[in-house]
């Protein structure tokens, strides 16, 4: 029987995603240099660093969101379950069902709560019947800790929910396709402290089933929710390690300068 102090650590060494020697260019600008990272199974990995350090750029590489940016070029290797996600045979739409994303501002579709969650399963053909789709919607909303609040108004527009509820609706939408990895780009920066705490609690619960990667400007949030932390600075991955180690004994002076709030 493991106690709480052991359970909160990473529970696996299994890699979901592996990035090796990743370079990103925006035109002439070399935005990300030589990044190697492992995204572990059932683990929350936090990316921290000052604005423009490349953390969001790297997050967007993990489900090929940079494909849509004019002039962006990605080099190196990013593997999901051992397969190169930049292989020509990979369909980015299929990839994004396996690597879901939640954005900074809650962005529910202008549809009902139900249809927001059902959207992904529908386009990917994950449900064979209405009953099965109902089941997916309910379990996704439960996983997003939203079911009890919205079960009586599934037909109401998703945009009518509170900000925190909208963000959890977006998380339910992302988990509805049963992804392997969930990417979150500043998921709490538009939320109040209570809604933030609810989303953080949710992230901790999601870890049981998914790998979560979160980009955050709040170092305290990274410290609270993650087991692994990667610190980016000027396009480099400066340090990657256990969150406890990063926040108590960082190895690189640049990491120390950043997390202690000094000019780095």
């Amino acid at each position: 029987m493991k106690d709480h102090l052991e359970r909160r650590m990473t529970t696996t060494d299994l890699n979901r995603m592996t990035a090796r020697n990743v370079q990103v260019y925006y035109g002439q600008n070399h935005a990300l240099k030589d990044v190697d990272v492992d995204i572990l199974d059932k683990t929350v990995t936090a990316f921290i660093g000052p604005s423009g350090c490349g953390k969001s750029t790297f997050l967007r590489c993990l489900n090929r969101m940079n494909d849509t940016i004019q002039g962006a070029r990605v080099e190196g290797q990013i593997l999901l379950e051992g397969e190169d996600i930049y292989d020509r045979r990979v369909d980015p739409v299929q990839l994004r069902a396996k690597v879901g994303m939640v954005f900074q501002k809650p962005n529910p579709f202008p549809k009902s709560v139900y249809d927001n969650v059902a959207y992904g399963p529908r386009i990917h053909g994950l449900a064979r019947s209405k009953a099965e789709l109902d089941q997916i919607v309910e379990s996704s909303l439960r996983r997003a800790a939203l079911w009890n609040e919205v079960k009586d108004r599934l037909a109401a527009p998703g945009t009518g929910l509170s900000g925190g509820q909208q963000q959890r609706l977006c998380i339910a939408r992302a988990v509805a396709t049963n992804p392997e990895v969930l990417l979150m780009d500043e998921p709490c920066s538009a939320l109040d402290p209570i809604a933030t705490a609810q989303v953080e609690e949710l992230i901790d619960e999601l870890r049981a089933n998914f790998s979560v990667v979160i980009v955050t400007h709040s170092m305290q949030q990274a410290a609270r929710v993650s087991q692994k932390t990667a610190f980016f600075h000027l396009g480099h991955l400066v340090e990657y390690g256990d969150t406890t180690q990063i926040f108590t004994k960082p190895r690189d002076p640049r990491t120390e300068a950043y997390i202690t709030g000094r000019i780095g």
Binding site: M219, Q220, F247, I263
Partner: protein, 238 residues
């Protein structure tokens, strides 16, 4: 870390707490020196001053803990900053204990003076003074190593503590001999022995402070066994 925080009030908070620790260290060093002098000179007034001055040391420890709690609550310190806050609390606690030992020395001085003049007290006085001087230097070096973040000096303090241990062992044997020679020596020797034991404990606290300096600077608590010479529990049966 030489760079300043972007939020300069954070630097001022940390500097202020560390200033309190240095001030506390100064009061404790004075207390030891004065207590040793009072013992040697049989000066009751000075002993009384040492006892009263211990209150100031206790108040400083309380203030340091309050300030450390405030920094943790308001500034959420991490990495090197966190280690500063954790180490000041431990150092303050070690200094408070040393202050208590000095106060106890003053208390026993009063008891010894009431016993009247005995040759053993005069004889032990010089040895205790040497031991006190050595422990004051050890403590002062521990605090200097803290102020300068000097790991080499801190390691030196850890090693030198065995000198204090050896002095204590020698005194222990000396007191034992006096007591065997004449039962009238038992009461003063028991007091003198507690004083010697307390000075030996001061050395251990100086070592604990030095260990905090190593932790503060490197992030690791030293785990190599430091040499120890205190072994009166293993004295041959006489």
């Amino acid at each position: 870390m030489s760079e300043n925080h972007i939020l300069r009030a954070f630097d001022r908070d940390l500097d202020a707490i560390q200033g309190l620790v240095m001030k506390m260290g100064g009061l404790v060093e004075t207390a030891i020196t004065d207590a040793a002098h009072a013992l040697e000179a049989g000066d009751l007034d000075e002993a009384e001053r040492v006892r009263k001055a211990d209150r100031d040391i206790d108040v400083l420890e309380y203030r340091i803990n309050e300030e450390a709690a405030r920094v943790i609550a308001l500034r959420a310190p991490t990495a090197g900053d966190l280690r500063v806050v954790l180490s000041v609390m431990k150092i303050a606690s070690a200094l408070e204990r040393v202050g208590d030992y000095a106060k106890n020395m003053a208390k026993r001085t009063q008891a010894l003076v009431e016993l009247g003049h005995t040759p053993v007290v005069a004889q032990a006085g010089a040895s205790l003074r040497r031991m006190t001087r050595a422990v004051t230097e050890l403590l002062s070096d521990a605090l200097d190593s803290y102020a300068a973040r000097d790991v080499a000096l801190a390691q030196d303090v850890r090693i030198r503590d065995q000198e204090i241990d050896q002095m204590y062992n020698a005194l222990f044997r000396e007191f034992l001999t006096h007591m065997l020679e004449d039962p009238r020596n038992i009461t003063p020797c028991i007091h003198l022995h507690f004083i010697a034991k307390n000075i030996e404990r001061m050395g251990d606290h100086a070592t604990a402070i030095a260990e905090q300096v190593v932790y503060l600077t490197t992030g690791e608590v030293p785990d190599d066994p430091r040499p120890k010479a205190e072994n009166v529990a293993n004295l041959p049966k006489s």
